[in-house]
Symmetry: C2
Subunit: 137 residues, 2 copies
């Protein structure tokens, strides 16, 4: 699984817990244990899809833009990782009936798998993630 997906979850969860002030990429990076530039790259995607707002300059940062019960993990998966379940098959032998067609068959199967996983991920909103985090305490 693409780790941008988990960084997106992590970032949004943090932002959801700070609903009334801007959080900087440095602070989020500190919590997630990765480099701030990477966080900014992921947040740039989230902003493009309307999950968050950002503000440049002194006192700027990122803030959650939507209702945390309306954002689910499937939304985030589609934004950060769609298609990554798909295995990267090497070019196989076109002379062989299996080699020639396996790629297409697997593509269709994994597309279905991704959609099916989507149904599962839709059940987890950021609110649920926060509840789970609090249960761990």
């Amino acid at each position: 699984m693409n780790s941008e997906f988990t960084l997106a979850i992590h970032s949004l969860t943090l932002l959801a817990l700070q609903p009334d002030r801007m959080s900087t990429s440095d602070a989020i990076a500190e919590s997630a244990g990765v480099h701030p530039v990477r966080i900014r790259k992921v947040l740039s995607l989230l902003k493009k899809h309307g999950f968050i707002k950002s503000k440049e300059g002194n006192g700027g940062g990122f803030i959650f833009a939507l209702d945390l019960e309306k954002v689910n993990l499937w939304d985030l998966y589609k934004t950060t990782s769609e298609g990554t379940l798909q295995p990267k098959c090497p070019e196989s032998n076109e002379q062989c009936i299996v080699g020639a067609n396996m790629q297409r068959v697997l593509f269709a199967i994994f597309l279905g798998a991704e959609e099916h996983m989507g149904e599962y991920l839709k059940d987890y909103t950021i609110k649920e993630v926060i509840d789970l985090i609090n249960q761990e305490q």
Copy 2:
């Protein structure tokens, strides 16, 4: 997705189409477009789990050992790729409530996702894969 999974599917599909003779790792590698040693490594796993039989020496090779309607993609996923859906989170900040608990929460969620995907993959047996390959013709 782990590419050993797709190599397992590819190999078993080929073997299922040659039920009455041994296939060599060279022949399978040729069809799949990868190195024979890699195929032997994957087939070694499949043998360990009883999906195939092998024979060394001249005239040897690999042959399917089970009913092709009884082997499904979830069996193969478990054999080759179990746990690979799990993202590898970096060590996050234990001082932060989110950083300290996110890893455990995500682990549980992705474990559920894998099980859920299992239900989908169980619907595809090697027989179904072969049917799909033939439909592509």
